[in-house]
């Protein structure tokens, strides 16, 4: 979820209404599809040798995820090494890694146009709001990322390392009625507890009239993206993950 895009979308909508224009007919592509094609032309083409080496895709979330790096491939040693570097440089502050390699839940992001896509998600922050602490954290992480690339380009060798990641398992939706309306909200015990263990039997949702819905999974999971505003319409109350340690090969500029 991007604050900047939301704002410009809102203002272009306002302008449209003031001028009372109508959307053009079926021939014209949605605005965001046009933008995706422009991005692909500028920073891609996706999958080709001309594509950009790295894209940092900056996002905020209403979830209490802190600073999270998003990885799309467990085999991308360059990205793993960069994330290892960032985590160490940012310590003792926490910066976790979310791996979304799930064949169905993976989605084609703007950053995936580049050879090494890196998502940076910082929260909690309401959409349309700028919080100093969130802004500063994002700025610091980006600085570490660019430092890493500079060191790499100067010829530094990064020996093999391990990186702890949280691998996406499944999407859990809100309980809904027959008309698709949400009938329960994230439980008080789960709200804001991103990355903390959720055990079978733990409270998960509470209905509007006060009943508790418990987590029925077979084992402990680590939930994230808990109560993200943009995901209500995408049928997601939170994602479950499991902890994993990945190995990154040694890398050095060729």
């Amino acid at each position: 979820t991007s604050c900047e895009i939301q704002k410009s979308h809102k203002s272009s909508r306002q302008k449209k209404n003031q001028k009372q224009t109508h959307a053009t007919g079926g021939d014209e592509l949605p605005y965001e599809v046009q933008r995706a094609q422009e991005i692909n032309r500028t920073f891609g083409p996706k999958g080709s040798p001309e594509a950009y080496d790295v894209i940092f895709d900056l996002h905020n979330t209403t979830s209490n995820m802190g600073c999270t790096l998003i990885l799309e491939s467990s085999k991308d040693s360059f990205n793993l090494q960069m994330m290892n570097y960032i985590k160490k440089a940012f310590a003792p502050a926490s910066c976790l890694v979310l791996l979304n390699e799930h064949p169905h839940l993976k989605y084609s992001t703007s950053r995936s146009v580049a050879k090494h896509p890196v998502g940076l998600e910082v929260g909690p922050q309401p959409q349309g709001v700028l919080r100093s602490n969130i802004f500063q954290a994002m700025r610091v992480i980006l600085k570490h990322a660019l430092d890493f690339i500079e060191l790499f380009n100067e010829g530094m060798e990064f020996p093999s390392c391990t990186v702890e990641v949280f691998r996406v398992l499944e999407r859990i939706d809100y309980p809904r009625d027959a008309n698709g309306n949400i009938i329960a909200m994230v439980h008080t015990n789960l709200q804001d507890c991103d990355w903390e263990p959720l055990n079978p039997g733990d409270p998960m949702f509470q209905t509007f009239d006060g009943q508790t819905v418990h987590y029925q999974g077979s084992g402990t999971v680590y939930p994230t993206f808990i109560n993200e505003a943009a995901y209500y319409e995408k049928q997601q109350a939170f994602l479950t993950t499991r902890r994993e340690t990945l190995v990154a090969s040694a890398i050095r500029k060729a």
Binding site: N17, T62, P126, L130
Partner: protein, 329 residues
């Protein structure tokens, strides 16, 4: 010990609870949906002395999870806007405000509902707030005094605006207030806020039932925060984009006294900009999402203690007596 005679005020037979006046402020949206379900399940009208109207104010904005479609509905209820011309191509919310005025008003008229309770959320760390146009509407002050929320700070905010100039939905009733709960991102429902709002509305309705049945409510004192001024973000003179964010020392510190030279903003290059006023004031609506476009980074209030007299509902005899004395005059 001198005991004040309670001020006698007309009963409140009709109350409106409104949610979704801003379509992305979800505590009110979901609470109104639940209340409407409860009413349907009860199947019969409440034959008691209190009639409760439950209203989803802005259905289209709610459906799209947006604050508004064309214009902010909660600014459409001034007398001028309600009585001005309405050409066919009018903004959605202007047409909607007429319908709401017909349903709950007419504003200023004898047929208006007795009390409007309008439900809102804010991204600011304000806890639970009553927002009203008067600091001497004893009904609103007594309801506020009666509310006890165990886990949430509560404040009474007063906008010193005349009835004629008042512009929000709650001004349509004979009495009215907004019930504002934060912090909550727009488009999100947080269980603690929902529960607080549900309990709050229940307490409001319970108070009205007790009042209508003739109970006497003791006098006392309420701390009232009266809005004095608003401060905008520093902006680039050409692009109008903001050039600083609310300072980390001010962020989330709603209702903590702001003194001259205290930090207000932090520029993107890290410089602190400080409060240049001469009077210490209480900040609120600090970093409310919807106010960026209204040019407000925070609002500032003076606090003062208001003495609230004891009150009770007028009886039939009181009403006859007041008609008689009017006729004599």
């Amino acid at each position: 010990m001198e005991v004040d005679e309670p001020v006698r005020l007309p009963r409140l037979p009709r109350v409106a609870v409104c949610g979704g006046t801003h379509g992305n402020e979800l505590s009110g949206v979901y609470l109104v949906r639940e209340l409407l379900k409860d009413l349907r399940e009860k199947d019969a009208e409440d034959g008691g002395p209190l009639s409760v109207l439950v209203v989803l104010s802005n259905p289209r904005a709610t459906q799209q999870c947006r604050r508004y479609i064309d214009v902010d509905l909660n600014r459409c209820f001034s007398h001028a806007t309600l009585n001005g011309p309405v050409p066919d191509a009018s903004p959605y919310e202007i047409i909607l405000s007429r319908k709401l005025n017909a349903l709950l008003g007419p504003k200023g008229g004898q047929g208006a509902v007795d009390l409007v309770c309008d439900l809102h959320n804010t991204t600011a760390n304000m806890g639970l707030c009553f927002i009203a146009y008067s600091d001497s509407d004893w009904i609103c002050l007594h309801i506020f005094k009666h509310l006890q929320m165990p886990d949430m700070p509560m404040r009474f905010i007063h906008y010193d605006v005349s009835k004629k100039e008042s512009y929000s939905l709650d001004s349509v009733g004979k009495h009215g207030f907004a019930l504002e709960i934060g912090p909550q991102p727009h488009g999100v429902v947080r269980s603690t806020n929902y529960t607080a709002m549900k309990v709050g509305v229940q307490h409001v309705l319970d108070w009205v039932r007790h009042f209508n049945s003739g109970s006497v409510f003791e006098g006392g004192f309420v701390d009232v925060f009266t809005m004095v001024k608003k401060i905008d973000y520093p902006r680039d003179s050409q692009t109008h984009n903001i050039t600083a964010a609310v300072h980390p020392h001010l962020q989330d510190r709603d209702f903590c006294l702001l003194r001259p030279e205290d930090p207000l903003f932090q520029t993107f290059s890290g410089e602190a900009l400080t409060y240049k006023g001469s009077e210490p004031l209480y900040p609120f609506f600090i970093n409310e999402c919807a106010y960026y476009e209204k040019g407000v980074a925070l609002s500032l209030a003076r606090k003062r203690r208001v003495a609230v007299p004891p009150i009770r509902a007028q009886t039939e005899e009181d009403k006859q007596a007041s008609f008689a004395s009017e006729e004599e005059e």
